[in-house]
Symmetry: D2
Subunit: 151 residues, 4 copies
Protein backbone atom coordinates (compact mmCIF):
# COMPACT_ATOMS: atom_id res chain seq x y z
CA UNK A 1 0.00 0.00 0.00
CA UNK A 2 1.21 3.47 -0.95
CA UNK A 3 0.65 6.09 1.69
CA UNK A 4 -0.81 9.44 0.71
CA UNK A 5 1.80 12.14 1.28
CA UNK A 6 1.92 15.87 0.51
CA UNK A 7 4.72 15.13 -1.95
CA UNK A 8 2.48 12.71 -3.80
CA UNK A 9 -0.33 15.24 -3.95
CA UNK A 10 2.02 17.84 -5.38
CA UNK A 11 3.36 15.33 -7.86
CA UNK A 12 -0.19 14.51 -8.96
CA UNK A 13 -0.83 18.17 -9.78
CA UNK A 14 2.46 18.43 -11.60
CA UNK A 15 1.60 15.34 -13.64
CA UNK A 16 -1.82 16.76 -14.50
CA UNK A 17 -0.20 19.99 -15.60
CA UNK A 18 2.21 18.14 -17.86
CA UNK A 19 -0.61 16.74 -19.97
CA UNK A 20 1.38 13.50 -20.26
CA UNK A 21 -1.18 10.71 -20.00
CA UNK A 22 1.32 8.06 -18.88
CA UNK A 23 2.55 10.30 -16.10
CA UNK A 24 -1.01 11.28 -15.13
CA UNK A 25 -1.88 7.59 -14.81
CA UNK A 26 0.71 7.21 -12.05
CA UNK A 27 -1.52 9.38 -9.87
CA UNK A 28 -5.05 9.19 -11.27
CA UNK A 29 -7.06 6.00 -11.78
CA UNK A 30 -8.59 5.22 -15.17
CA UNK A 31 -11.99 5.04 -13.52
CA UNK A 32 -11.57 8.32 -11.65
CA UNK A 33 -14.81 10.12 -10.74
CA UNK A 34 -14.77 13.89 -10.29
CA UNK A 35 -17.55 16.19 -9.11
CA UNK A 36 -17.62 19.83 -10.22
CA UNK A 37 -19.82 21.97 -7.92
CA UNK A 38 -22.90 23.98 -8.91
CA UNK A 39 -25.58 23.52 -11.54
CA UNK A 40 -23.92 25.40 -14.39
CA UNK A 41 -22.98 23.77 -17.72
CA UNK A 42 -19.74 22.16 -16.46
CA UNK A 43 -21.18 20.96 -13.14
CA UNK A 44 -21.66 17.36 -12.10
CA UNK A 45 -19.84 14.06 -12.06
CA UNK A 46 -17.17 13.21 -14.63
CA UNK A 47 -17.08 9.45 -14.77
CA UNK A 48 -13.64 8.46 -16.07
CA UNK A 49 -10.15 9.87 -16.38
CA UNK A 50 -10.88 10.66 -20.03
CA UNK A 51 -14.00 12.61 -19.11
CA UNK A 52 -11.99 14.47 -16.47
CA UNK A 53 -9.22 15.31 -18.93
CA UNK A 54 -11.80 16.51 -21.43
CA UNK A 55 -13.16 18.78 -18.70
CA UNK A 56 -9.64 20.14 -18.15
CA UNK A 57 -9.47 20.81 -21.88
CA UNK A 58 -12.80 22.64 -21.74
CA UNK A 59 -11.68 24.90 -18.89
CA UNK A 60 -8.54 25.66 -20.88
CA UNK A 61 -10.50 26.49 -24.01
CA UNK A 62 -13.22 28.53 -22.31
CA UNK A 63 -10.60 30.68 -20.64
CA UNK A 64 -8.34 31.10 -23.64
CA UNK A 65 -5.58 29.28 -21.77
CA UNK A 66 -5.65 31.63 -18.78
CA UNK A 67 -6.98 29.11 -16.24
CA UNK A 68 -4.49 28.56 -13.39
CA UNK A 69 -4.58 26.62 -10.14
CA UNK A 70 -1.91 27.58 -7.61
CA UNK A 71 -1.56 25.16 -4.74
CA UNK A 72 -1.68 27.05 -1.45
CA UNK A 73 -2.16 24.24 1.07
CA UNK A 74 -1.90 20.47 0.96
CA UNK A 75 -3.38 18.17 3.58
CA UNK A 76 -3.42 14.42 3.94
CA UNK A 77 -5.48 11.91 5.85
CA UNK A 78 -6.18 8.21 5.74
CA UNK A 79 -6.52 7.28 2.07
CA UNK A 80 -7.39 10.85 1.25
CA UNK A 81 -5.95 14.26 0.56
CA UNK A 82 -7.27 17.79 0.44
CA UNK A 83 -5.86 20.98 -0.89
CA UNK A 84 -6.68 24.60 -1.35
CA UNK A 85 -5.83 26.23 -4.65
CA UNK A 86 -6.14 29.80 -5.73
CA UNK A 87 -7.85 29.62 -9.11
CA UNK A 88 -7.50 32.50 -11.52
CA UNK A 89 -8.92 32.78 -15.02
CA UNK A 90 -10.57 35.11 -17.50
CA UNK A 91 -13.21 33.95 -19.96
CA UNK A 92 -11.99 33.86 -23.54
CA UNK A 93 -13.05 37.07 -25.24
CA UNK A 94 -13.72 39.02 -22.05
CA UNK A 95 -12.68 42.68 -22.14
CA UNK A 96 -9.25 43.25 -20.63
CA UNK A 97 -9.51 44.07 -16.94
CA UNK A 98 -13.16 43.00 -16.54
CA UNK A 99 -13.98 42.12 -12.96
CA UNK A 100 -17.47 40.83 -13.67
CA UNK A 101 -18.01 37.43 -12.00
CA UNK A 102 -19.16 36.17 -15.43
CA UNK A 103 -15.75 36.96 -16.88
CA UNK A 104 -13.15 36.89 -14.11
CA UNK A 105 -12.31 34.20 -11.53
CA UNK A 106 -9.95 34.81 -8.65
CA UNK A 107 -10.75 32.83 -5.53
CA UNK A 108 -9.79 29.75 -3.62
CA UNK A 109 -11.14 26.31 -4.43
CA UNK A 110 -11.04 23.33 -2.11
CA UNK A 111 -10.40 19.80 -3.40
CA UNK A 112 -11.05 16.60 -1.52
CA UNK A 113 -9.69 13.40 -3.02
CA UNK A 114 -9.94 9.72 -2.23
CA UNK A 115 -6.88 7.59 -2.98
CA UNK A 116 -6.63 3.85 -3.54
CA UNK A 117 -3.48 1.86 -4.25
CA UNK A 118 -1.54 5.07 -4.64
CA UNK A 119 -3.88 6.76 -7.10
CA UNK A 120 -6.74 9.23 -6.91
CA UNK A 121 -10.07 7.48 -7.50
CA UNK A 122 -12.47 10.26 -6.57
CA UNK A 123 -12.28 14.02 -6.33
CA UNK A 124 -14.71 16.75 -5.43
CA UNK A 125 -14.28 20.53 -5.54
CA UNK A 126 -15.94 23.02 -3.27
CA UNK A 127 -15.95 26.76 -2.75
CA UNK A 128 -15.86 29.11 0.19
CA UNK A 129 -18.12 32.00 1.13
CA UNK A 130 -20.45 33.08 -1.68
CA UNK A 131 -18.02 32.23 -4.48
CA UNK A 132 -20.17 29.22 -5.44
CA UNK A 133 -22.51 31.82 -6.94
CA UNK A 134 -19.66 33.54 -8.78
CA UNK A 135 -18.35 30.16 -9.97
CA UNK A 136 -21.73 29.35 -11.57
CA UNK A 137 -21.74 32.70 -13.34
CA UNK A 138 -18.18 32.27 -14.60
CA UNK A 139 -18.97 28.95 -16.29
CA UNK A 140 -22.43 29.97 -17.48
CA UNK A 141 -23.45 30.13 -21.13
CA UNK A 142 -24.39 33.75 -20.46
CA UNK A 143 -22.12 36.71 -19.88
CA UNK A 144 -22.93 40.02 -18.21
CA UNK A 145 -26.20 41.40 -19.62
CA UNK A 146 -27.38 37.92 -20.51
CA UNK A 147 -25.67 37.65 -23.88
CA UNK A 148 -25.17 33.97 -24.69
CA UNK A 149 -21.63 32.92 -25.46
CA UNK A 150 -20.10 29.84 -26.96
CA UNK A 151 -19.60 27.11 -24.53
Amino acid sequence: MTEVTPERVRAAYAALGSGDRERILEYYAEDLRWLVPGNHPLAGWYESLDAFLELMGQTHKLTGGTFRMDLEAVLVGEDCSADVCRNTAARAGAPEGSDSPYERMDYQVFHFMRWQDGRIVEGRDGLFGDTATAFSQFWAHVGPDGIRRDR
Copy 2:
Protein backbone atom coordinates in the same frame (compact mmCIF):
# COMPACT_ATOMS: atom_id res chain seq x y z
CA MET B 1 -50.91 50.80 -35.87
CA THR B 2 -52.29 47.57 -34.46
CA GLU B 3 -53.33 47.76 -30.84
CA VAL B 4 -52.21 45.04 -28.45
CA THR B 5 -55.28 43.17 -27.23
CA PRO B 6 -55.76 40.08 -25.05
CA GLU B 7 -57.15 38.31 -28.09
CA ARG B 8 -53.99 39.03 -30.02
CA VAL B 9 -51.83 37.71 -27.16
CA ARG B 10 -53.84 34.50 -27.05
CA ALA B 11 -53.63 34.19 -30.81
CA ALA B 12 -49.84 34.59 -30.62
CA TYR B 13 -49.60 31.66 -28.20
CA ALA B 14 -51.89 29.58 -30.40
CA ALA B 15 -49.74 30.37 -33.42
CA LEU B 16 -46.59 29.43 -31.55
CA GLY B 17 -48.19 26.15 -30.49
CA SER B 18 -49.11 25.35 -34.09
CA GLY B 19 -45.47 25.30 -35.16
CA ASP B 20 -46.58 26.91 -38.46
CA ARG B 21 -43.88 29.45 -39.28
CA GLU B 22 -46.07 31.59 -41.53
CA ARG B 23 -48.71 31.84 -38.83
CA ILE B 24 -46.08 32.53 -36.16
CA LEU B 25 -44.76 35.40 -38.28
CA GLU B 26 -48.11 37.14 -37.99
CA TYR B 27 -47.36 37.67 -34.28
CA TYR B 28 -43.60 37.44 -33.84
CA ALA B 29 -41.01 39.58 -35.61
CA GLU B 30 -38.14 37.96 -37.54
CA ASP B 31 -35.70 39.88 -35.34
CA LEU B 32 -37.43 38.92 -32.10
CA ARG B 33 -35.22 38.95 -29.00
CA TRP B 34 -36.10 36.71 -26.06
CA LEU B 35 -34.49 36.51 -22.63
CA VAL B 36 -34.65 33.27 -20.62
CA PRO B 37 -33.97 33.86 -16.90
CA GLY B 38 -31.19 32.37 -14.81
CA ASN B 39 -27.64 31.27 -15.58
CA HIS B 40 -28.34 27.65 -16.54
CA PRO B 41 -27.56 26.22 -20.00
CA LEU B 42 -30.68 27.61 -21.71
CA ALA B 43 -30.51 31.06 -20.08
CA GLY B 44 -29.81 34.32 -21.87
CA TRP B 45 -30.87 36.26 -24.93
CA TYR B 46 -32.07 34.50 -28.08
CA GLU B 47 -31.44 36.94 -30.88
CA SER B 48 -33.84 36.05 -33.71
CA LEU B 49 -37.11 34.24 -34.27
CA ASP B 50 -35.14 31.24 -35.50
CA ALA B 51 -33.05 31.14 -32.34
CA PHE B 52 -36.23 31.40 -30.30
CA LEU B 53 -37.91 28.57 -32.20
CA GLU B 54 -34.82 26.44 -31.76
CA LEU B 55 -35.09 27.11 -28.02
CA MET B 56 -38.71 25.95 -28.12
CA GLY B 57 -37.50 22.79 -29.84
CA GLN B 58 -34.90 22.27 -27.13
CA THR B 59 -37.46 22.57 -24.33
CA HIS B 60 -39.63 20.07 -26.17
CA LYS B 61 -36.76 17.64 -26.62
CA LEU B 62 -35.37 17.96 -23.08
CA THR B 63 -38.79 17.23 -21.63
CA GLY B 64 -39.70 14.39 -23.95
CA GLY B 65 -42.60 16.45 -25.28
CA THR B 66 -44.15 17.02 -21.84
CA PHE B 67 -43.51 20.77 -21.67
CA ARG B 68 -46.78 22.73 -21.39
CA MET B 69 -47.64 26.38 -20.87
CA ASP B 70 -51.22 27.05 -19.79
CA LEU B 71 -52.23 30.69 -20.01
CA GLU B 72 -53.78 31.79 -16.73
CA ALA B 73 -53.83 35.57 -17.10
CA VAL B 74 -53.32 37.98 -19.98
CA LEU B 75 -52.64 41.68 -19.55
CA VAL B 76 -52.06 44.47 -21.99
CA GLY B 77 -50.50 47.91 -21.87
CA GLU B 78 -49.17 50.44 -24.30
CA ASP B 79 -47.24 48.52 -26.95
CA CYS B 80 -46.77 45.68 -24.52
CA SER B 81 -48.40 42.60 -23.04
CA ALA B 82 -47.81 40.40 -20.07
CA ASP B 83 -49.14 37.03 -19.11
CA VAL B 84 -48.85 34.41 -16.44
CA CYS B 85 -48.62 30.79 -17.50
CA ARG B 86 -48.57 27.66 -15.45
CA ASN B 87 -45.64 25.68 -16.84
CA THR B 88 -45.52 21.95 -16.31
CA ALA B 89 -42.91 19.52 -17.57
CA ALA B 90 -40.86 16.48 -16.67
CA ARG B 91 -37.29 15.98 -17.87
CA ALA B 92 -36.96 13.26 -20.47
CA GLY B 93 -35.89 10.07 -18.73
CA ALA B 94 -36.92 11.15 -15.24
CA PRO B 95 -38.48 8.45 -13.09
CA GLU B 96 -42.27 8.52 -13.16
CA GLY B 97 -43.65 10.64 -10.34
CA SER B 98 -40.34 12.30 -9.44
CA ASP B 99 -40.86 15.60 -7.68
CA SER B 100 -37.20 16.59 -7.66
CA PRO B 101 -36.77 20.18 -8.89
CA TYR B 102 -34.15 18.79 -11.30
CA GLU B 103 -36.79 16.61 -12.92
CA ARG B 104 -40.21 18.16 -12.41
CA MET B 105 -41.50 21.67 -13.18
CA ASP B 106 -44.88 22.89 -12.02
CA TYR B 107 -45.05 26.58 -11.33
CA GLN B 108 -46.10 29.87 -12.81
CA VAL B 109 -43.95 31.84 -15.21
CA PHE B 110 -44.63 35.38 -16.29
CA HIS B 111 -43.82 36.86 -19.66
CA PHE B 112 -43.40 40.50 -20.55
CA MET B 113 -43.45 41.33 -24.24
CA ARG B 114 -42.90 44.44 -26.31
CA TRP B 115 -44.96 44.77 -29.49
CA GLN B 116 -44.27 46.85 -32.58
CA ASP B 117 -46.46 47.13 -35.66
CA GLY B 118 -48.64 44.32 -34.37
CA ARG B 119 -45.87 41.85 -33.64
CA ILE B 120 -43.81 40.82 -30.64
CA VAL B 121 -40.28 42.19 -30.90
CA GLU B 122 -38.98 41.41 -27.42
CA GLY B 123 -39.93 39.00 -24.66
CA ARG B 124 -38.61 38.23 -21.24
CA ASP B 125 -39.62 35.50 -18.77
CA GLY B 126 -39.43 35.62 -15.03
CA LEU B 127 -40.40 33.57 -12.03
CA PHE B 128 -42.04 34.14 -8.69
CA GLY B 129 -40.91 33.28 -5.18
CA ASP B 130 -37.91 30.94 -5.10
CA THR B 131 -38.82 29.06 -8.27
CA ALA B 132 -35.98 30.81 -10.14
CA THR B 133 -33.74 28.40 -8.21
CA ALA B 134 -35.87 25.40 -9.18
CA PHE B 135 -35.98 26.59 -12.80
CA SER B 136 -32.16 26.62 -12.95
CA GLN B 137 -32.04 23.10 -11.56
CA PHE B 138 -34.64 21.83 -14.01
CA TRP B 139 -32.68 23.01 -17.05
CA ALA B 140 -29.26 22.10 -15.63
CA HIS B 141 -26.92 19.56 -17.21
CA VAL B 142 -27.00 17.76 -13.87
CA GLY B 143 -29.80 15.78 -12.32
CA PRO B 144 -30.35 14.90 -8.67
CA ASP B 145 -27.10 13.53 -7.19
CA GLY B 146 -25.06 15.46 -9.72
CA ILE B 147 -25.18 12.92 -12.53
CA ARG B 148 -24.66 14.74 -15.83
CA ARG B 149 -27.35 14.28 -18.44
CA ASP B 150 -27.58 15.05 -22.11
CA ARG B 151 -28.44 18.55 -22.85
Copy 3:
Protein backbone atom coordinates in the same frame (compact mmCIF):
# COMPACT_ATOMS: atom_id res chain seq x y z
CA MET C 1 -67.40 46.28 -9.27
CA THR C 2 -64.42 48.56 -9.87
CA GLU C 3 -62.49 47.83 -13.02
CA VAL C 4 -58.72 47.68 -12.92
CA THR C 5 -57.31 50.53 -15.00
CA PRO C 6 -53.80 51.83 -15.63
CA GLU C 7 -54.80 55.01 -13.82
CA ARG C 8 -55.78 53.02 -10.77
CA VAL C 9 -52.47 51.13 -10.80
CA ARG C 10 -50.55 54.40 -10.95
CA ALA C 11 -52.69 55.83 -8.18
CA ALA C 12 -51.93 52.78 -6.02
CA TYR C 13 -48.20 53.38 -6.39
CA ALA C 14 -48.64 57.07 -5.61
CA ALA C 15 -50.64 56.20 -2.50
CA LEU C 16 -47.98 53.74 -1.37
CA GLY C 17 -45.33 56.38 -1.88
CA SER C 18 -47.26 58.88 0.23
CA GLY C 19 -47.04 56.69 3.30
CA ASP C 20 -50.59 57.81 4.19
CA ARG C 21 -52.30 54.68 5.53
CA GLU C 22 -55.83 55.88 4.79
CA ARG C 23 -54.92 56.65 1.22
CA ILE C 24 -53.07 53.35 0.87
CA LEU C 25 -56.20 51.51 2.04
CA GLU C 26 -58.09 52.83 -0.95
CA TYR C 27 -55.91 50.59 -3.13
CA TYR C 28 -54.53 47.81 -0.93
CA ALA C 29 -56.62 45.37 1.12
CA GLU C 30 -55.97 44.96 4.84
CA ASP C 31 -55.36 41.25 4.25
CA LEU C 32 -53.00 41.84 1.32
CA ARG C 33 -50.49 39.05 0.67
CA TRP C 34 -47.20 39.88 -1.02
CA LEU C 35 -44.45 37.53 -2.20
CA VAL C 36 -40.86 38.77 -2.42
CA PRO C 37 -38.74 36.53 -4.69
CA GLY C 38 -35.61 34.59 -3.73
CA ASN C 39 -34.45 32.93 -0.52
CA HIS C 40 -32.61 35.89 1.02
CA PRO C 41 -33.60 37.45 4.36
CA LEU C 42 -36.47 39.55 2.96
CA ALA C 43 -37.89 36.82 0.71
CA GLY C 44 -41.23 35.11 1.13
CA TRP C 45 -44.88 35.92 1.75
CA TYR C 46 -45.90 38.99 3.73
CA GLU C 47 -49.31 38.17 5.12
CA SER C 48 -51.07 41.48 5.80
CA LEU C 49 -50.93 45.12 4.75
CA ASP C 50 -49.05 45.88 7.96
CA ALA C 51 -46.44 43.23 7.23
CA PHE C 52 -46.09 44.63 3.72
CA LEU C 53 -45.66 48.19 4.96
CA GLU C 54 -43.08 47.01 7.46
CA LEU C 55 -41.23 45.41 4.54
CA MET C 56 -41.34 48.75 2.71
CA GLY C 57 -39.88 50.36 5.83
CA GLN C 58 -37.11 47.74 5.88
CA THR C 59 -36.16 48.36 2.26
CA HIS C 60 -36.06 52.08 3.03
CA LYS C 61 -33.86 51.57 6.07
CA LEU C 62 -31.48 49.05 4.49
CA THR C 63 -30.86 51.39 1.59
CA GLY C 64 -30.50 54.57 3.61
CA GLY C 65 -33.55 55.98 1.87
CA THR C 66 -32.14 55.49 -1.63
CA PHE C 67 -34.61 52.79 -2.74
CA ARG C 68 -36.66 53.95 -5.75
CA MET C 69 -39.19 52.29 -8.02
CA ASP C 70 -39.86 54.07 -11.30
CA LEU C 71 -42.89 52.79 -13.18
CA GLU C 72 -41.95 52.03 -16.77
CA ALA C 73 -44.94 50.04 -17.98
CA VAL C 74 -48.42 49.37 -16.65
CA LEU C 75 -50.64 46.56 -17.88
CA VAL C 76 -54.12 45.47 -16.92
CA GLY C 77 -56.15 42.30 -17.30
CA GLU C 78 -59.23 40.77 -15.77
CA ASP C 79 -59.06 41.48 -12.03
CA CYS C 80 -55.33 41.87 -12.29
CA SER C 81 -52.55 44.27 -13.17
CA ALA C 82 -48.88 44.00 -13.94
CA ASP C 83 -46.15 46.54 -14.17
CA VAL C 84 -42.46 46.85 -14.78
CA CYS C 85 -40.47 49.17 -12.55
CA ARG C 86 -36.87 50.16 -12.72
CA ASN C 87 -35.62 49.71 -9.17
CA THR C 88 -32.52 51.56 -8.05
CA ALA C 89 -30.94 51.55 -4.62
CA ALA C 90 -27.63 51.48 -2.77
CA ARG C 91 -27.17 49.62 0.51
CA ALA C 92 -26.79 51.92 3.48
CA GLY C 93 -23.09 52.35 4.19
CA ALA C 94 -21.88 51.15 0.80
CA PRO C 95 -18.92 53.03 -0.64
CA GLU C 96 -19.95 55.77 -3.04
CA GLY C 97 -20.05 54.48 -6.61
CA SER C 98 -19.85 50.79 -5.69
CA ASP C 99 -21.25 48.60 -8.44
CA SER C 100 -21.05 45.36 -6.49
CA PRO C 101 -24.35 43.45 -6.72
CA TYR C 102 -24.25 43.26 -2.90
CA GLU C 103 -24.34 47.04 -2.70
CA ARG C 104 -25.98 48.44 -5.82
CA MET C 105 -29.33 47.65 -7.44
CA ASP C 106 -30.30 48.95 -10.85
CA TYR C 107 -32.60 46.69 -12.80
CA GLN C 108 -36.19 46.12 -13.73
CA VAL C 109 -38.64 44.31 -11.49
CA PHE C 110 -41.95 42.87 -12.59
CA HIS C 111 -45.05 42.99 -10.37
CA PHE C 112 -48.18 40.93 -10.83
CA MET C 113 -51.19 41.88 -8.71
CA ARG C 114 -54.62 40.45 -8.14
CA TRP C 115 -57.40 42.95 -7.46
CA GLN C 116 -60.74 42.41 -5.74
CA ASP C 117 -63.45 45.01 -5.20
CA GLY C 118 -61.12 47.73 -6.40
CA ARG C 119 -58.19 46.87 -4.17
CA ILE C 120 -55.00 44.83 -4.48
CA VAL C 121 -55.31 41.57 -2.54
CA GLU C 122 -52.18 39.77 -3.74
CA GLY C 123 -48.91 40.83 -5.27
CA ARG C 124 -45.82 39.01 -6.43
CA ASP C 125 -42.52 40.38 -7.73
CA GLY C 126 -40.25 38.75 -10.24
CA LEU C 127 -36.99 39.50 -11.99
CA PHE C 128 -35.62 39.16 -15.48
CA GLY C 129 -32.44 37.53 -16.76
CA ASP C 130 -29.99 36.65 -14.00
CA THR C 131 -30.91 39.57 -11.76
CA ALA C 132 -32.67 37.21 -9.34
CA THR C 133 -29.14 36.25 -8.29
CA ALA C 134 -28.10 39.88 -7.90
CA PHE C 135 -31.32 40.63 -5.99
CA SER C 136 -30.50 37.91 -3.43
CA GLN C 137 -27.02 39.33 -2.97
CA PHE C 138 -28.32 42.88 -2.54
CA TRP C 139 -30.65 41.91 0.31
CA ALA C 140 -28.23 39.44 1.91
CA HIS C 141 -26.84 39.79 5.41
CA VAL C 142 -23.41 39.62 3.80
CA GLY C 143 -21.65 42.21 1.70
CA PRO C 144 -18.79 41.75 -0.76
CA ASP C 145 -16.06 39.62 0.86
CA GLY C 146 -18.60 37.99 3.14
CA ILE C 147 -18.58 40.60 5.89
CA ARG C 148 -21.90 40.42 7.76
CA ARG C 149 -23.88 43.63 7.94
CA ASP C 150 -26.87 44.72 9.91
CA ARG C 151 -30.08 43.62 8.55
Copy 4:
Protein backbone atom coordinates in the same frame (compact mmCIF):
# COMPACT_ATOMS: atom_id res chain seq x y z
CA MET D 1 4.98 25.16 18.58
CA THR D 2 2.17 22.60 18.71
CA GLU D 3 1.82 20.47 15.62
CA VAL D 4 -1.62 19.96 14.08
CA THR D 5 -2.57 16.29 14.36
CA PRO D 6 -5.73 14.33 13.54
CA GLU D 7 -6.11 13.67 17.26
CA ARG D 8 -6.07 17.38 17.97
CA VAL D 9 -8.71 18.03 15.29
CA ARG D 10 -10.95 15.36 16.78
CA ALA D 11 -10.38 16.77 20.26
CA ALA D 12 -11.36 20.23 19.02
CA TYR D 13 -14.70 18.89 17.76
CA ALA D 14 -15.26 17.04 21.01
CA ALA D 15 -14.54 20.22 22.98
CA LEU D 16 -16.94 22.20 20.80
CA GLY D 17 -19.61 19.57 21.35
CA SER D 18 -19.15 19.75 25.11
CA GLY D 19 -20.16 23.40 25.23
CA ASP D 20 -17.52 23.91 27.94
CA ARG D 21 -15.94 27.28 27.15
CA GLU D 22 -12.68 26.59 29.00
CA ARG D 23 -12.23 23.36 27.14
CA ILE D 24 -13.17 25.00 23.82
CA LEU D 25 -10.48 27.64 24.42
CA GLU D 26 -7.82 24.94 24.39
CA TYR D 27 -8.53 24.50 20.68
CA TYR D 28 -10.15 27.69 19.42
CA ALA D 29 -8.65 31.18 19.67
CA GLU D 30 -10.64 34.01 21.24
CA ASP D 31 -10.27 35.97 18.02
CA LEU D 32 -11.36 33.06 15.81
CA ARG D 33 -12.86 34.04 12.44
CA TRP D 34 -15.31 31.67 10.77
CA LEU D 35 -16.90 31.90 7.32
CA VAL D 36 -20.28 30.26 6.64
CA PRO D 37 -20.88 29.76 2.89
CA GLY D 38 -23.71 31.19 0.80
CA ASN D 39 -25.73 34.39 0.99
CA HIS D 40 -28.55 33.18 3.27
CA PRO D 41 -29.25 34.70 6.71
CA LEU D 42 -26.50 32.79 8.55
CA ALA D 43 -23.84 33.27 5.87
CA GLY D 44 -20.68 35.33 6.22
CA TRP D 45 -17.81 35.90 8.59
CA TYR D 46 -18.20 35.43 12.35
CA GLU D 47 -15.53 37.58 13.91
CA SER D 48 -14.81 36.16 17.36
CA LEU D 49 -15.18 32.92 19.30
CA ASP D 50 -18.28 34.37 20.96
CA ALA D 51 -19.86 35.17 17.60
CA PHE D 52 -19.03 31.64 16.45
CA LEU D 53 -20.55 30.06 19.55
CA GLU D 54 -23.66 32.18 19.11
CA LEU D 55 -23.88 30.84 15.56
CA MET D 56 -23.65 27.29 16.94
CA GLY D 57 -26.50 28.17 19.31
CA GLN D 58 -28.54 29.48 16.37
CA THR D 59 -28.09 26.30 14.35
CA HIS D 60 -29.14 24.32 17.41
CA LYS D 61 -32.23 26.45 17.92
CA LEU D 62 -33.30 26.59 14.26
CA THR D 63 -33.14 22.82 14.04
CA GLY D 64 -34.82 22.06 17.34
CA GLY D 65 -31.62 20.41 18.55
CA THR D 66 -31.43 17.99 15.62
CA PHE D 67 -28.28 19.45 14.02
CA ARG D 68 -25.46 16.90 13.93
CA MET D 69 -21.98 16.85 12.43
CA ASP D 70 -20.40 13.41 12.08
CA LEU D 71 -16.72 13.48 11.30
CA GLU D 72 -15.98 11.23 8.33
CA ALA D 73 -12.45 12.26 7.40
CA VAL D 74 -9.73 14.28 9.06
CA LEU D 75 -6.72 15.71 7.24
CA VAL D 76 -3.77 17.75 8.38
CA GLY D 77 -1.21 19.99 6.72
CA GLU D 78 1.22 22.67 7.72
CA ASP D 79 -0.54 24.84 10.30
CA CYS D 80 -3.88 23.72 8.94
CA SER D 81 -6.47 20.97 9.05
CA ALA D 82 -9.43 19.94 6.95
CA ASP D 83 -12.25 17.57 7.56
CA VAL D 84 -15.37 16.25 5.96
CA CYS D 85 -18.47 15.91 8.10
CA ARG D 86 -21.84 14.48 7.29
CA ASN D 87 -24.28 17.10 8.50
CA THR D 88 -27.84 16.10 9.26
CA ALA D 89 -30.64 18.27 10.59
CA ALA D 90 -34.33 19.07 10.31
CA ARG D 91 -35.72 22.58 10.67
CA ALA D 92 -37.65 23.09 13.89
CA GLY D 93 -41.33 22.66 13.15
CA ALA D 94 -40.86 20.81 9.85
CA PRO D 95 -43.30 17.98 9.19
CA GLU D 96 -41.92 14.59 10.19
CA GLY D 97 -40.20 12.92 7.25
CA SER D 98 -40.07 16.03 5.05
CA ASP D 99 -37.33 15.78 2.45
CA SER D 100 -37.71 19.33 1.18
CA PRO D 101 -34.30 21.04 0.97
CA TYR D 102 -35.85 23.89 2.99
CA GLU D 103 -36.52 21.50 5.86
CA ARG D 104 -34.06 18.62 5.70
CA MET D 105 -30.25 18.60 5.55
CA ASP D 106 -28.27 15.45 4.91
CA TYR D 107 -25.04 15.99 3.05
CA GLN D 108 -21.33 16.37 3.52
CA VAL D 109 -19.71 19.62 4.51
CA PHE D 110 -15.97 20.26 4.45
CA HIS D 111 -14.10 22.52 6.81
CA PHE D 112 -10.72 24.11 6.26
CA MET D 113 -9.03 25.54 9.34
CA ARG D 114 -5.90 27.52 10.03
CA TRP D 115 -4.09 26.82 13.31
CA GLN D 116 -1.68 29.01 15.23
CA ASP D 117 0.07 28.14 18.48
CA GLY D 118 -2.05 25.01 18.82
CA ARG D 119 -5.39 26.66 18.31
CA ILE D 120 -7.80 27.25 15.41
CA VAL D 121 -7.70 30.89 14.31
CA GLU D 122 -9.70 30.68 11.11
CA GLY D 123 -12.25 28.28 9.66
CA ARG D 124 -14.25 28.13 6.48
CA ASP D 125 -16.98 25.68 5.43
CA GLY D 126 -17.87 24.60 1.95
CA LEU D 127 -20.12 22.17 0.15
CA PHE D 128 -19.85 19.69 -2.67
CA GLY D 129 -21.91 19.33 -5.84
CA ASP D 130 -25.07 21.44 -5.87
CA THR D 131 -25.68 21.21 -2.12
CA ALA D 132 -24.62 24.86 -1.71
CA THR D 133 -28.05 25.64 -3.19
CA ALA D 134 -29.80 23.27 -0.77
CA PHE D 135 -27.79 24.72 2.14
CA SER D 136 -29.05 28.24 1.34
CA GLN D 137 -32.62 26.99 1.24
CA PHE D 138 -32.25 25.14 4.54
CA TRP D 139 -31.11 28.25 6.41
CA ALA D 140 -33.48 30.62 4.59
CA HIS D 141 -36.19 32.64 6.31
CA VAL D 142 -38.60 30.99 3.90
CA GLY D 143 -39.83 27.42 3.86
CA PRO D 144 -41.34 25.46 0.99
CA ASP D 145 -44.06 27.57 -0.72
CA GLY D 146 -42.39 30.76 0.43
CA ILE D 147 -43.96 30.95 3.88
CA ARG D 148 -41.69 33.03 6.13
CA ARG D 149 -40.54 31.35 9.32
CA ASP D 150 -38.88 32.61 12.45
CA ARG D 151 -35.23 32.92 12.19
